[in-house]
């Protein structure tokens, strides 16, 4: 079985893993669009979404409702974070904001470890685990994916479309983007900047919570699941273009593909290094990313 015959499976796996990264990446772009800042606690939003959903399921709540509860919980959490930690420091420097969100992520991780313990926790898949086989043996070896992965991809696509519409076609979305471009000018134009920022955090929390809920059956919920996901999500956002939800998803997919293909071709040991090396290359050659707009000089 040569590499070529396995290629379709590699591609499919790359896309499914990539949608996980893309979903996380979308959350970053929202907050970046509103504040020009990067939220290093984004990964923790995903963690909380997953863990809250898992707790609900453990109490007997049906899976769909559990995910919704998780989304709501994280939305509240994100708004709280904005009010308590970001708002008071809105005039601070980049470094200060970075440290604040890093501190917040430490805090959230610690609380999660206390509330849910440190072991991995399971969550049932939405529509079972029977693999969906796309192609049987023949020219290519069999290609299959799990139903939960289809869920992830579907949700990511829907979220991407919705956000793109929001950002590009609605007044609210444009108002949010204006806040990051020039806060003072936005205020002068009559945009309630602080409310827009709060809104962007709340939305980002909603998406993060959703991400956690749909990832949990695949990745298992654990207090520290958000760390690496957050980093890869950030790398994906940079790859695709920081301000752009479509870019975030595309970046995620490309990242997933590259990672998976490098596993196949090089070695699995260095695959994380490949992901971050790609990010570095993009940062250095085309910082606005594959699909980004040059809204600010880098």
């Amino acid at each position: 079985m040569s590499f070529a015959s396995e290629l379709p499976q590699y591609v499919i796996t790359g896309l499914t893993t990539g949608s996980i990264y893309g979903m996380t990446a979308i959350g970053f772009t929202l907050i970046y669009n509103a504040t020009g800042a990067v939220n290093f606690a984004q990964g923790e939003f995903v963690t909380y979404g997953a863990l809250i959903a898992i707790s609900c399921v453990a109490k007997g709540v049906p899976v769909g409702a559990a995910v919704v509860v998780g989304m709501g919980g994280v939305m509240v959490l994100a708004a709280l974070l904005e009010r308590a930690a970001i708002r008071p420091a809105r005039r601070a420097s980049v470094i200060t904001l970075i440290i604040i969100t890093i501190g917040a992520s430490m805090l959230l991780r610690g609380v999660a470890a206390n509330l849910w313990g440190q072991d991995a926790l399971p969550m049932p898949s939405f529509s079972g685990d029977e693999p969906i086989v796309l192609a049987r043996r023949g020219l290519f070896s069999s290609v299959s994916l799990a139903p939960q992965q289809v869920w992830v991809m579907g949700v990511v696509l829907v979220a991407m479309v919705l956000l793109w519409v929001l950002g590009d076609r609605t007044l609210v979305g444009k108002a949010i983007r204006a806040c990051a471009i020039n806060r003072r000018a936005a205020q002068l134009a009559g945009i309630p900047v602080s409310r827009m920022v709060m809104l962007s955090f709340a939305l980002s929390g909603l998406l993060g919570g959703l991400a956690g809920g749909i990832f949990a059956p695949i990745v298992m919920g654990q207090y520290n699941m958000g760390t690496m996901l957050g980093l890869k999500g950030f790398a994906a956002a940079i790859l695709g273009g920081m301000g752009n939800p479509v870019g975030a998803v595309v970046g995620g997919l490309v990242l997933g593909l590259l990672e998976n293909l490098s596993t196949a071709v090089i070695s699995s040991g260095y695959k994380d290094a490949v992901a971050f090396a790609v990010m570095l290359v993009v940062l250095l050659t085309r910082p606005s990313g594959l699909l980004g707009r040059r809204t600010r000089t880098v």
Partner: protein
């Protein structure tokens, strides 16, 4: 600037003095109790190891003291948390040796942290009974350093015996990139060829990776007869699920790293049929009463379950072995570090949860392949394979 710098210096010294001297006031070794130290990873990444170990140590302290202590002296275990980092472990070791003047130290939970304090404790001549797995802890042998967990070497040897019995000659491996996974992989590379088994592919994964399908697709292409996975949950659980998704039906053999309840709950139905080497503790109720370990296993498993409401696991068992070994030895040697060390080295036939220990000057682990049994997961439960 001068005032500020003066103040910085003064305040620093004051603060340091307060914190440190408060730590320096400690228990004066009040003649009677036998004090041993314990360093576990109670918080941090390895807490799923450290917490059962800490629980076991505390439970044993109470039990031993309730039964009259060690030759009439109460046992006191001073527990430190190394948070899974080496610098912390070294700090903790220094604290225990200096401030608490312990007679011996149990733990740490992990390989890295154990190696970090190995030289220090050996130099200080304080016996260390580690609860970590890697063989490097006792090879090369340091006079004061011992360990209770079974080594990767034995786990691999057991797996090799199983493979030979099933007449399997082509296997692939997928191991995590932590010290545990790398250690297992190294042993596989060393032992499999000697047994005439070909390792057709060796892949790696990160402990927090969301999917191992890429590696498994590559493995699938190489057509192994079995896949050996070396890691701790959730990694192997994700691998088990990925294998079902990809339609890979060959047997999955895991390491003893999954011999815990977390793996069962997280892997769910995908764990069905997985085979692994494990200490007898997880199948204690299937061990015949005639087995020499039966009594110790049952005793520990039932009292842990009763005290903490959770099933006992292998890691707690390592701490159990370490503490009971020390207690047994101290009953005859008294509070003397060198005597304790010498006595451990001479101990033979010590029945623990991990196996039956036979220490010697060249073997500071004291276990062999028999410490493991092959276990299979059937209907979501551990089943002893005969």
């Amino acid at each position: 600037m001068t005032t500020r710098s003066c103040w910085t210096v003064v305040l620093l010294v004051l603060a340091a003095a307060v914190v440190m001297s408060s730590a320096a006031w400690g228990r004066a070794a009040a003649g009677s109790p036998y004090v041993i130290g314990a360093i576990f990873s109670i918080t941090g990444d390895a807490s799923s190891l450290g917490v059962p170990e800490r629980n076991t140590a505390q439970m044993l302290e109470k039990q031993i003291n309730a039964a009259g202590g060690i030759a009439g002296h109460p046992l006191k275990i001073v527990i430190e948390d190394d948070r899974g980092t080496e610098a912390e472990a070294l700090n903790a070791a220094r604290r225990l040796v200096e401030r608490d003047k312990v007679l011996a130290i149990v733990g740490p939970s992990r390989t890295g942290t154990s190696l970090a304090i190995k030289d220090y404790l050996n130099k200080q001549k304080v016996p260390l009974v580690s609860c970590a797995a890697a063989i490097q802890i006792v090879e090369p042998v340091a006079p004061y350093v011992f360990k209770t967990p079974q080594s990767d070497r034995m786990a691999v040897a057991k797996i090799v015996s199983y493979l030979k019995a099933k007449k399997i000659t082509r296997v692939a491996s997928i191991s995590d990139n932590t010290a545990f996974g790398k250690g297992g992989l190294a042993e596989l590379h060393a032992r499999l060829p000697k047994a005439g088994i070909t390792l057709v592919m060796a892949e790696e994964f990160g402990p927090k990776d969301p999917s191992m399908e890429g590696q498994l697709t590559k493995i699938r292409g190489a057509n192994p007869q079995a896949i050996i996975c070396w890691g701790t949950p959730p990694g192997p659980a994700i691998i088990a699920k990925n294998m079902k998704t990809l339609g890979i039906n060959v047997p999955l053999i895991c390491s003893h790293g999954v011999a815990n309840a977390t793996f069962l709950s997280v892997a769910g139905a995908a764990a069905e049929g997985v085979v692994l080497p494990a200490g007898r503790l997880i199948v204690y109720d299937q061990i015949p009463a005639s087995n020499r370990q039966a009594k110790v296993l049952r005793g520990y498993a039932t009292s842990y379950q009763k005290t903490f409401g959770k099933p006992a696991d292998t890691f707690g068992g390592h701490a159990y072995d370490a503490v009971t070994l020390l207690a047994k030895v101290m009953a005859t040697t008294g509070p003397n570090r060198d005597k304790i060390r010498a006595a451990i080295e001479k101990t033979k036939g010590f029945v623990g949860t991990g196996g039956i220990f036979n220490f010697s000057p060249t073997d500071h682990n004291g276990l062999s392949e028999d410490a493991f049994v092959m276990v299979q997961i059937k209907n979501g439960k551990w089943t002893l394979l005969k």
